[in-house]
Subunit: 489 residues, 2 copies
């Protein structure tokens, strides 16, 4: 989730910034860690992130600098959801006619550990040594432990790589002060539970100020969907209690799954820390309104943006542009606006059928771009889902959230141009829109996509590019697929 | 299974003759069909053949030429085995510690159709429209039909792409005359059932000379293993009977699975048709004895040849040799002989542990090579398996089969140098050896491997090469992986 300033070819996005890495190959990513903060990395090919190819990426401040907040220790809290079916089966189901959904996750994981409800899935996992039953006391099945010393203050570096689920994080009985979002400073605010959408990170502080004779739950529950997945649990261990001293309290409960108002209210509380993050430019040079819809394309269930459902071209976009490779990319620019008078409150009309494509928005280098992401009703009546939108290569200012159809004549006036938060991932809520502003100042080709892995796989993405001709030659290890074979560099 | 004379880069073997084809890419294979006969094609990456990436490849004689046998019509009979678990799950199991075997196939397929025993696998297949139950009468579940006119003679072009199973083919109540093996002429002989090992093809003639009021079964059963897989069945339809008139007879029975003597006796009956196929050179320039063993490498179950378990290098062998790419291949030649005094009748001693490698045997162009493949006991006491050995880029003469440890001082004297069959795939039987001779006259790099897909995946293969520097430059679409990225051609 690093912006890769100056090294767009090490962004890791297959078919956009490089060719996929073949089995058995070694590929070295080399980039400057030019900003401290909480980040993560993951595979960006197929559904490899869901398959487990991810990890935390923590960048410390240089010794000469200090955070504007104090703490005694820190812990990584990497969140995920998990299925018993392999990603290959999941992917096959997504591409099948009729569509086969893998269903809701069996488990929610904190730092890679979780449990599942055996009575719902009696025989879906092959027995592995040491973990034959799901309530085994083996260390392999034990929950993750977060040890703290009573009275001390800790920084939790929370990140979600969830495939599908929007999560809500709770530290039982403890108030949390949120100080950073996506590695950028925000105006501190207090919460007892925190929504974390896939792709986002939050840094929170808490003090171990509760009854020190007990341990507590750290917990995650699902937002915006209503699965039977059990709460994901870790143990907040008050030293010197044993880690095996499990709390006797029930698993913490989050706001009810469809309480969108609470989620929107939380999102609006997140503002930049003035003096630490710059305010956005006052005007933009170009505005793009991207309408996300769920569509049926010849029987295939897909997502589309302004009627184009994204598929990868076999030649990486960055190379296609840099070397002007004929026939490598769609030469027709995608539309800057949705079709007129689209009704976002009903399922898409069959007459407005989407098509497959590889859309590419090219921006003038250094220009200021506004992107409005507009949500809509899915193919199911009275249904609209949460989508966390993630941009590579840039942070953006989140200028505002709104409900209903975005209306440029009045909604733009409501944008927060004073202290909008700076982020790389922002949720668009059911039937709503989110307005993002960024400066196209990082030469390269950059995916902009829903961070829900099956949604991107089903077409919910596009590519932004700027200043490609200012790039030096591309490293040879990033090439070798599509029309970049035999390229003389 | 084409020898690809002059076009080794279109042989299709990933990491040997070309880079794998990336998702979304189009790759065109262009080669001369310089010999008529019954062949097939398949994916040669991972376990794609088991996944269904295969088909028949029938090359007709030119109009000016005639076969030395007569027939009125012909049918393709492509054989396979089939699992409900995806190849990705199968592959994961093969690479896991402890090893997880997918088990025996659920079905045997004739021309892609088969059935399975529902009572053994109650819920392993997701319901698909039209095939909700395994005894459905839907056309999707119907067996393959082979229509014949009573009294006429037919040529069956039988080929096996089986992943694991050695098969025995029966045409209920009908005598078959075998006239070709692997596309080459053999001395015709009659059988009522025929062993077909994975990788092999047979052309057989039969006359529809039975009671024309009935239809008959075409059937396949497993040899050398003892699964519960039901007999694979197709319908031999005597026109004008309806195809839906199923035989009332039970599924035909093959020789008992562990009756190796019958299989060996059949193999020895296969001889070249003199005058149609050349006799082998009388002497060879080099003899290699390859001992195949099952090994445990750090807990992984593997196969090895002379103690080397084959893994792919990320750079295709042909390119590594042609362009002298440093560090792309193992420079140490693999051994021409097994360790001395190896006892093939017991499991391998742990002290003789195998290692991973990418062995490459380089031959002088035009030289005559003998390869003896030696079978042995697996890691299980009193167990040795059938392995069908397949060579790319060449046909070989099968000079002989023997039991026990090959002894060059006496066994070479028993070689058939008069009319050995010319083939590209030959089985080595339990505790036995097979002797093959070929002329290294096709410049290129060529896999030589067990055609059982999981066995090759577990290391049972090697690469032969000759005359690479006589090749023209390699087509750019075959490159782009490993160290062939950025290659200036």
């Amino acid at each position: 989730m690093y912006v890769q300033r100056g090294t767009p070819y090490f962004d890791g996005a297959a078919y956009v910034s490089q060719c996929p890495i073949n089995p058995g190959e070694i590929f070295t990513y080399k980039f400057k860690v030019d900003r401290a903060g909480t980040y993560f990395y993951h595979g960006h090919f197929g559904m490899q992130r869901s398959g487990g190819l991810y990890g935390s990426l923590i960048v410390d401040l240089p010794a000469s600098k200090k955070e504007p907040f104090a703490y005694d220790g820190e812990h990584s809290i990497l969140l995920n959801d998990w299925w018993h079916k392999s990603i290959y089966e999941q992917e096959l189901g997504l591409n099948s006619v009729p569509f086969r959904f893998v269903g809701e996750p069996q488990s929610l994981l904190i730092e890679g550990r979780g449990k599942y409800n055996c009575s719902l899935y009696p025989a879906t996992v092959p027995p592995t040594p040491g973990c034959l039953t799901c309530n085994a006391t083996s260390p392999k099945c034990a929950p993750h432990v977060i040890p703290v010393t009573p009275g001390k203050t800790y920084r939790l570096r929370i990140a979600s790589v969830a495939s599908l689920s929007s999560l809500n994080f709770i530290l039982e009985g403890h108030k949390m002060t949120v100080v950073q979002a996506d590695g950028r400073y925000i105006k501190p605010f207090d919460v007892y539970n925190l929504d974390v959408y896939s792709g986002q990170t939050y840094d929170v502080l808490f003090t171990a100020d509760q009854d020190a004779s007990k341990n507590y739950w750290a917990a995650i529950n699902v937002r915006g969907r209503n699965p039977k997945t059990p709460t994901g649990l870790a143990v907040l261990q008050y030293l010197p209690n044993e880690a095996t001293l499990l709390p006797t309290t029930p698993a913490p409960v989050s706001p009810i799954w469809n309480d969108t108002a609470t989620s929107i209210s939380l999102a609006k509380q997140i503002l930049a820390k003035v003096g630490y993050e710059a305010a956005p430019p006052k005007k933009s040079h170009r505005t793009i309104v991207i309408l996300g819809t769920q569509n049926n394309i010849n029987g295939n269930l897909k997502w589309a943006l302004n009627n184009i459902s994204y598929v990868h071209n076999p030649t990486p976009v960055i190379a296609a542009l840099k070397y002007n490779i004929k026939g490598a990319i769609d030469s027709t620019p995608p539309p800057d606006y949705p079709v007129q008078d689209y009704n976002i409150f009903v399922p898409p009309k069959p007459s407005l059928s989407a098509n497959y494509g590889s859309p590419l928005y090219v921006f003038k280098r250094g220009s200021v771009v506004d992107v409005i992401v507009q949500n809509s009703n899915t193919l199911t009546p009275n249904n609209s889902e949460i989508h966390p939108w993630h941009l590579h290569g840039h942070d953006f200012w989140v200028l505002g959230y709104g409900q209903g159809m975005y209306d440029s004549t009045k909604d733009a006036a409501s944008f927060n141009l004073i202290d909008p938060p700076v982020r790389n991932t922002a949720a668009v809520f059911p039937y709503g829109w989110v307005a993002l502003r960024f400066v196209a100042d990082n030469p390269g080709a950059w995916p902009f996509h829903c961070h829900i892995e099956p949604h991107f796989h089903m077409g919910m993405g596009t590519v932004f590019a700027e200043g490609i001709h200012n790039l030096p030659k591309l490293p040879s290890q990033t090439l070798g697929c599509g029309l970049t074979k035999g390229l003389h560099r």
